[in-house]
């Protein structure tokens, strides 16, 4: 990996130095003729590359994406069209440009035709830009001299029924891409040093597991827990499905290992009150006043059990409890076993207080029903559900075991049951879909299977971490399929029920997953960050401060300088924090801020190409 510029380039850059890294001149002809101090509006930056000393040599690669594109767009016609565009010296099509042979074709063409710009017209840059960029780098072409046109999402998929017009649009998109490609400049990715330590927020099973793993991978960990003791929600359970081991026995050993680990520092009770910095260099302040630096952060702050206020008589009727309350009752030792217990599933979830399925209530109810039956076989236990959501091997097996033990399951539908008190005894009324009639079940104890809900503190934490929450107010990961424990923000990871309801085994899996991911930058010691950040033209910056107040990532600050213009303020970009969103450049009153790789001239060239005939 070329890491020659390893000096943490971005962090200290300021003033005129801002643009320093744009100066790189490579053998690939990516010279930047635009003077660094020049305004982006200067005519020279709009000039086509043909006027430059090294002519543009653009290669165009058009992907069939199987039949995703090729089945609708006339790809050979687009290739033929592209080959006639100015500065295009090579155009070809590939069945899958992203497959090995497509990538080889790009590499071969770069050397064979001396390409200094590469354009791939295929799918979405979200998934494929890194791959093509890497391919260009491997062939010696700076990856920012690569241009991506999305012919699939932007064209073939949305114009499936109009192939002829889709082909015309594809040509236009390629033309626009070529127009921008001419103006692309090489960019360097700053390399940042990493503080080789991590912080884990939350001392439940997820946080404990993550902390222990990171420490065992060789990196110091700061574990921050808001309560005075470790263990979180799991430690408050009675026995844990599917192994039925005592919660204390399950959580105890890992809590002890964490407490005894020389590389784990416990901060307890404590919460994080301030966070600044970025991957590799987060500056943390705790409620205790302690401050430290870490390279990565794992969020494992857990969830709460819903308080079923106003539901099924909870809080009003005696002997209506939640599963968690039942666990505490059972954990406290033998209590008078009721004759008849009715459990109500989805109490508060799936359409009541929250819309989602909390995933764990079914196996929790089944576990508690089994425990009740095993201790007191004559107790009638009835689980009222709309659907039984036990999954995998172990929980499904427990469901069957509950059936064997005589736990009764009845499906209520479509309305949820109602609980009332009649002659001093609880009564549960519901429509039994299996029997196709309304039923009344007398009960001595009604147990509500309530969902997990996001913690209210998550809101503030998400702001501090600058990571998003989903619509259910649980933390939202970078990609639900392939990046389940990452946040979109580099260096911050998520695991456990803070992400959404799940079981303990999965919490630990996610925690270990987050520990693996969080330790990657620590193990590397350095990380490269995106080059697409904002740059400030300090000669024109008026120091108005709009960018500073508008930046969602707190990446811009106004700093005092004393130069030819006198004592003044100018905007400074912290590249470690800048996400390249472009908001600053679009609100800057005189275009003193521009976004690397998405400059106004580049975008205007595309617009012009789009409007141009032919």
């Amino acid at each position: 990996m070329p890491e020659e510029k390893a000096q943490g380039a971005g962090r200290e850059a300021q003033g005129k130095e801002e643009g320093a890294r744009d100066k790189g001149v490579g053998k690939d002809g990516g010279e930047n003729p635009v003077p660094l101090s020049a305004s982006p509006l200067e005519p020279s930056s709009l000039a086509p590359c043909a006027l430059r000393p090294a002519p543009c040599r653009i290669g165009v690669f058009i992907c069939h994406c199987g039949s995703n594109i090729g089945g609708i767009v006339d790809v050979p016609a687009v290739v033929e069209y592209a080959s006639r565009l100015k500065d295009v010296v090579h155009a070809e099509r590939n069945l899958y440009t992203c497959a090995d042979d497509g990538l080889t074709a790009i590499k071969t063409a770069i050397s064979k035709h001396g390409l200094n710009r590469v354009l791939v017209a295929s799918c979405t840059p979200r998934t494929h830009a890194p791959l093509f960029r890497r391919t260009c780098e491997a062939a010696g072409l700076n990856q920012y001299l690569f241009e991506f046109v999305n012919l699939r999402e932007h064209c073939s998929w949305v114009h499936m029924r109009e192939p002829a017009r889709a082909t015309e649009k594809a040509k236009a998109l390629v033309k626009m891409g070529v127009a921008r490609a001419r103006l692309l400049e090489r960019q360097e990715e700053p390399v940042l040093d990493i503080e080789p330590a991590a912080m884990v927020l939350g001392g439940g099973v997820a946080g404990l597991s993550a902390a222990l793993s990171i420490a065992n991978q060789g990196f110091p960990v700061h574990l921050v827990e808001r309560e005075p003791e470790l263990g979180g929600m799991a430690a408050r359970l009675h026995r844990i499905s599917p192994t039925y081991r005592n919660a204390r026995e399950v959580v105890g050993p890992v809590a002890e290992a964490v407490s005894a680990h020389p590389d784990i520092r416990l901060h307890m009770p404590a919460t994080m009150t301030d966070l600044s910095g970025y991957i590799g260099n987060f500056e943390v302040t705790l409620s205790t006043g302690e401050k430290f630096r870490v390279g990565s952060i794992v969020v494992a702050t857990g969830a709460d059990e819903l308080r079923p206020d106003g539901l099924y008589g909870w809080g009003q009727l005696k002997n209506v409890v939640t599963q968690m309350e039942l666990e505490r009752l059972m954990a406290a030792g033998p209590f008078t076993r009721p004759k008849s217990v009715v459990m109500i599933q989805c109490a508060g979830s799936r359409g009541q207080k929250v819309s989602y399925c909390s995933k764990r209530c079914c196996f929790t109810a089944i576990k508690n029903a089994i425990l009740l039956k095993e201790e007191s076989p004559d107790t009638e236990v009835h689980i009222l559900h709309n659907e039984i959501h036990v999954y995998g091997v172990a929980f499904e097996k427990e469901y069957r075991r509950a059936q064997e033990l005589g736990v009764r399951f009845s499906r209520y539908s479509p309305e949820k049951p109602s609980v009332s008190e009649q002659n001093g005894r609880l009564n549960v009324n519901f429509y039994d879909e299996g029997l196709r009639r309304e039923r009344d079940l007398p009960a001595d104890l009604v147990v509500l299977s309530t969902p997990l809900v996001a913690r209210p503190e998550a809101e503030e934490l998400s702001k501090m971490l600058k990571v998003p929450l989903g619509q259910d107010r649980f933390f939202f990961e970078a990609h639900v399929k392939l990046r389940p424990v990452d946040f979109a923000t580099d260096g911050i990871f998520i695991c456990g029920t803070a992400k959404g309801p799940t079981n303990i085994g999965e919490c630990v899996e996610q925690a270990l997953g987050a520990a693996s991911r969080a330790a990657i930058p620590l193990a590397k010691g350095r990380v490269r960050v995106e080059a697409i950040t904002s740059r400030v033209n300090t000669d024109t910056c008026r120091g108005c401060g709009r960018c500073e107040s508008e930046c969602d990532y707190h990446a811009i600050s106004l700093v005092p300088v004393n130069d030819a213009f006198g004592n003044r303020l100018v905007a400074r970009v912290n590249e470690g924090l800048c996400k390249g969103c472009g908001k600053c450049s679009s609100i800057c009153c005189n275009r003193s801020i521009s976004l690397r790789h998405f400059t106004t001239p580049q975008i205007m060239a595309m617009v012009e190409a789009a409007l141009e005939e032919g």
């Binding site: 497959a99 042979d101 979405t124 097996k397 619509q471 639900v480 389940p484 997953g513 330790a519």
Partner: protein, 441 residues
């Protein structure tokens, strides 16, 4: 630091390999088939985001191929594991591809001339497409190297293939090598990660649904290939014998799964993928009626419940709470009738369907017992790899230093497999560090 052995090149194995490789660990990625990618490569789209499956996986596959720290061993199997955590010696049997990977570009000219071209059912498409004896498993295969099916190749089985070996003649790079032999290599590794995925239950034995007898009864995985733009029909669903797209479709859940006589467990993914598959039908053919038959709609994940609601309310997918008792076929028209107990009326009702898709159980791989023996690890009663403690040690096998990730441990979806794979990578890295004396137990 020692190397790590990852067994299985599906999404879990890929993730584990990448995590470790990024930390500077050299990873041996062993895959039984000629290409990495696993089951995810066969899917059309993924729920609930409707990402094109191969499109989001292909970059990761390419990352594996490109990564300087990852060494891929395809067509290979692990035959034994000696030693202990931190200091294992793994025996890997590398089957001959009969194609020199360093020379082959995967251009496919050899496949064009193979005498068996179009005669052998292609595994990747479940036989819905035919291949020759020399073939590329699928378009986006990694590595992009041709493979000779040594059990089918005329030359390899009979010692003679017509006048001359056409494939060898067609190859401009001299990549075909009939003399290539299976070889056994020994790898020194510090830790092992097992991520071998699952197999598919064959529903031919379930007479009630007529799979294998009725042409228009398909398994869900076959359907994934049929609806996929790069699949055998180019993404066009075709009903036999008319070849028209279906006007009505039924999806039957839990086929062979949650069945005490077959696989008692819940596969954890079928409710969601069936919903996705029905939505895909609706996207392709908005007028096609889609009904999903299931008993418990297990939408247990972030955004899943909402996805099901969208399928129902926006796309008009019908969800019926019933397991159909029987599928019958009109022998003349090949149209199907699905018989079920209507949850609303309580009466037996039938619906006509042009195509029925069976959500067949995803079951432990056929070779798990052998692999477990080779690795000295245990299986649970359902033949999934046993973990030391499903709660607090969910990635540790019964042998120290050997870790488990993905569906082969217990049924789970892609994100859980990916998270667990990273988790296994964390544990493997801990072992390497422990041996190096850098960390604490």
């Amino acid at each position: 630091m020692k190397d790590v052995l990852v067994i299985g090149g599906g999404v879990a194995g890929i993730q584990a390999a990448l995590d470790l490789a990024e930390k500077g660990v050299k990873v041996h990625l062993v895959e039984r088939t000629p290409s990495i990618g696993g089951r995810m490569a066969q899917l059309d789209k993924t729920f609930p985001t409707m990402d094109c499956s191969i499109c989001i996986l292909a970059p990761k596959m390419a990352d594996c191929a490109d990564h300087p720290n990852i060494i891929m061993h395809t067509c290979s199997e692990v035959a034994g594991l000696q030693g202990e955590a931190g200091d294992f010696r793994a025996t890997v049997l590398k089957h001959a591809r009969h194609v020199d990977a360093s020379k082959c570009t995967g251009c496919g000219k050899c496949a064009e001339v193979c005498r068996l071209k179009g005669r052998i059912p292609n595994e990747f498409d479940f036989g819905l497409r035919k291949r020759g004896a020399i073939y590329l498993p699928f378009l986006q295969a990694v590595p992009r190297v041709m493979n000779i099916d040594s059990k089918k190749c005329i030359f390899l089985t009979k010692g003679k293939c017509g006048e001359k070996q056409l494939c060898k003649e067609a190859c401009e790079r001299g990549a075909i090598d009939f003399d290539q032999k299976d070889e056994t290599v020994t790898l020194d590794v510090g830790a092992v990660i097992v991520a071998t995925g699952f197999d598919l239950f064959d529903p031919s034995g379930m007479f009630e649904y007529g799979y294998g007898r009725f042409q228009n009864v398909r398994t869900a995985m076959e359907y994934e290939r049929l609806i996929c733009a790069s699949g055998p029909t180019g993404g066009h669903l075709e009903v036999e014998p008319t070849k028209e797209h279906p006007g009505s479709m039924a999806f039957i859940q839990c086929v062979g799964a949650r069945d005490l006589r077959l696989s008692p467990f819940c596969c954890s993914v079928c409710c969601m993928y069936a919903t996705k598959e029905a939505v895909l039908v609706k996207e392709h053919y908005p007028d096609t009626d889609c009904t999903i038959f299931n008993v418990d709609m297990r939408a247990l994940g972030k955004g899943f419940e909402e996805f099901v609601e969208r399928a129902r309310d926006e796309y008009g997918v019908r969800f019926l709470r019933a397991r159909p008792g029987q599928v019958t076929e009109d022998p003349a028209t090949k149209r199907l009738t699905v018989w079920y107990e209507d949850p609303a009326s309580g009466k037996v009702t039938s619906m006509e369907a042009d195509m029925v898709v069976l959500a067949t159980a995803l079951v432990p791989g056929a070779g798990v017992a052998q692999l477990a023996k080779a690795l000295g690890i245990e299986l649970d009663e359902s033949a999934f790899f046993k973990v030391r403690d499903p709660l607090m040690s969910p990635v540790e096998s019964t042998r120290p230093g050997v870790f488990i990730a993905g569906y082969c441990e217990t049924p789970k979806d892609i994100p859980e497999s990916v998270a667990q794979a990273s988790g296994a990578a964390a544990r493997a890295f801990e072992v390497l560090k422990r041996k190096g004396g850098a960390a604490h137990a």
